[in-house]
Amino acid sequence: MDGGGARGAVPINVRIQREDFDAAAEVAALTQGRADVGAVVAFTGLCRDEAGALAALELEHYPGMAEDEIARVAQEAAARWPILGATAIHRYGKIAPGGNIVLVVATSPHRRAAFEAAEFMMDYLKTRAPFWKKEHRRDGTTGEWVEAKDADDSAAQRWT
């Protein structure tokens, strides 16, 4: 998918998938064959086991809208920072503790833009992308839906 922002041909890759991702391959896709990238920030979000209580997270999403929202977030990042590329991959389905949930990568000539664009994408993705986490507990009880945190809203608001 192409960013189509002010800077034209910034590559923006957005994927929603059940299968795992390979962060190294995604970074390589944004950096190989070009020598104008000076900074790469790769964020990986993983499933924590909540001190052993969690058997798995189950991620539900709104197909179609999930891709659209994450692409909008990435395009907004490309419009606000001089990035050279961005990738965002979000998994759905059952994910065991230690497993990957989300990957965000931003590349730029300079480190500050790469850091800020990546953090912006994560903050916005958390409050805008239609995903919901349900807990499956090791004691076999029916999982609860994870509650949204006010901290996530305020994290997103600091970019406005």
Binding site: L59, E60, M65, H90, M122, K126, W132, K134, E147, D152
Partner: protein, 87 residues
Amino acid sequence: MNAPLKLSYFAWVRERIGLPDEALTPPADVTNVAELIAWLSGRGEEYAYAFERPGVIRAAIDRKHVKHDAPIAGAREIAFFPPMTGG
């Protein structure tokens, strides 16, 4: 009269209503999202439970986030869900 709408439900809204989606035709006096929620809440116990706290319900019209005062005229699909917890 409104045209038939696809309504989609996610996470605990889906679980409480017991359906992932359905096609409904709201009456003509239902003009925005808040009114649609109120109308749905009157359709039965499961809807009343799903929408018992309308303030926490998020809505999307044709896959874009909207506020509860958004008009529903022309919408093809309206989705209801709890605050997102992805990432």
